[in-house]
Subunit: 344 residues, 2 copies
């Protein structure tokens, strides 16, 4: 209530500080940034006013001058997916201390949602974009990559115009590895549950698995490969369909972690014993795999490593936007479980 206590609701700006310190806003700015010499006395007065008023520079306004928002957009299909979540935390841990903030968007792999999210981020003038794309906005993303740092996460886009970076797992080799494992364990009646083949990861995984089996002399029957949405529901439905139409299968390979979870749900509910009556192989993070009722055998993607690489590459490109496009492929890791029966 005192006349002194000018603690009104309005945000305190550089003008307020200048006024109570009895200096110009230029001087306030200079002591805040410490990039110009300012006489000790004025410096003291400014600091005192800053403390008194609780002044905090508006980094948005700063950004206007610098044309830098110090913000990165993180666009993924599902921010609920543990893989992406670990990556975002890693990025935040690295970029946060450097002053960047992360704006996250979930697209559900939906074209419009993705386009809307990207537009929102662009109009927010983020400094860079990290995208796990739906694969349905390729041209748009390619065009953006010409003027803004873009790092593709896992999924490539089909456009020669793209001029950003890519980081992902070695899907082909990972699934080739699993195919060899299945073969060596004696499996020949093999089914695959995969997803949208317009998405590069699924394409690479499926091809890696199928080609390897063919090379080993055990070509897959096309009818045993089915595609389903990469969700738990998708997996639940798909495995039912697959097993009904192909009761002869001894092993099923599933190309996505959420899909696998759904499939296991089905398997448990239907009392199908793993690996006794059915063997299972899958790709992707399995949360708390060691607490499951059977230990799955799968390839995992090392999200921590991916996150670190993404942050490093983004930082690199932020510093030099003209940098040539890079491809970083991270080897996946084989997790030996007990979900594959030895038939050999």
């Amino acid at each position: 209530m005192d006349g002194d206590m000018v603690q009104n609701n309005e945000r305190v700006t550089i003008f307020d500080v200048a006024e109570t310190a009895g200096v110009s806003i230029s001087t306030v700015s200079r002591v805040m940034n410490g990039n110009y010499p300012v006489k000790q006395e004025l410096r003291d007065r400014v600091n005192k006013a800053v403390a008194e008023l609780g002044y905090m520079p508006d980094s948005v306004a700063r950004g206007m001058k610098f044309k830098r928002r110090y913000a990165i957009g993180y666009v993924v299909s599902d921010i609920t997916n543990r893989h992406f979540t670990i990556i975002s935390k890693t990025i935040d841990d690295i970029l946060g201390p450097l002053g960047y903030s992360l704006i996250v968007c979930s697209t559900d792999s939906n074209q419009e949602k993705e386009a809307r999210a990207i537009k929102m981020l662009l109009s927010n003038r983020v400094d860079g974009l990290i995208i796990n794309t739906s694969g349905k906005n390729d041209e748009y993303i390619a065009s953006i990559s010409k003027t803004l740092p873009v790092v593709l996460l896992h999924r490539r886009i089909a456009s020669s115009e793209f001029s950003g970076d890519y980081i992902g797992s070695d899907n082909y080799q990972a699934c080739a590895h699993l195919a060899r494992h299945a073969f060596i364990m004696g499996h020949r009646e093999i089914g695959i549950i995969t997803s949208d083949q317009s998405i590069s990861t699924f394409r690479e995984r499926t091809i890696g698995f199928v080609e390897t089996l063919a090379e080993l002399g055990a070509p897959m029957l096309p009818s045993r490969i089915i595609a389903t949405p990469y969700t738990e529901e998708g997996g639940y439905t798909a495995i039912g369909t697959l097993l009904e139409s192909h009761p002869e299968l001894s092993l099923v390979m599933i190309m996505n972690n959420a899909t696998t979870i759904g499939a296991i749900q089905y398997i448990r509910e239907h009392g199908i014993a793993v690996p006794e009556s059915l063997s299972l192989l899958s790709f992707g993070e399995m949360l708390n795999a060691n607490l499951m009722y059977f230990k799955p055998t799968y390839m995992t993607q090392k999200p921590l490593l991916v996150g670190k690489e993404v942050a490093a590459i983004m930082l690199d490109r932020l510093e030099d936007p003209t940098h040539a496009g890079r491809e970083v492929v991270i080897e996946a890791q084989f997790e030996q479980g007990e979900s594959v029966k030895d038939l050999s």
Copy 2:
């Protein structure tokens, strides 16, 4: 290369549009916002220029005028935790279409990290803050709440100065329920693994459990209650300590989901049979509980519901910042598993 194709690297601004349309920037702004009458002809010319140049208004610059950033800060202990992840997705789904973006920060429940994150968000002039606080910046958060919409998520702060909203689960009742369950099943030798009692949730949960047992005539021995960091490692270590010093325990109640996971890890590794030789009860989301090697009995927090409420309350307060503080308590849900042996 054509003189026409002015597709340079610079961002296209309202000035560029005005120039190529041959109108003033005021007119461009008016047709972009559609909030003032503009003659059809000019309107057409502007739209044409916009399309041609691929113009997209800078919402940061707009925000400067409106003093609105259309951004919400989401500060949680761990953005990797599925509970918070589902909440963030729900919020994003609701607030996103309304034009808001979500800036997420992970604090690891560390005081400095939390303070730094909040400062960053403030200087980014977010329109509101959703905080799952570490409980170590109470005064600071309380002071912020006076000038900015703040919604506390789960954890309260100990300051009468706080003037935002709170939303959380009914921790006391939830744990009272579990205590009754333990009692009815005949358990009397009960241990508790809890965490930092300066955090409101842990306090409420522990008290709810302990008081209820006392009311039932089975007061807990203080030595059987131990506190540990709410992480998997914390749970792993704690249960080892607890069981070694108290081999007589028939049931252990764990107050946090990550802690529980760690504890189960230990239990499985040490070949302790659940519920045959030890019964388990816990609080919080259990991801894929139905795929675990035993079905845990626990209380879950309905993150979807929490997320919706948080978004609604935030929206409310955004519209009316002077709104009186609210408390929304969401009932937790009992998930009956098979981790408690019937001794009765």
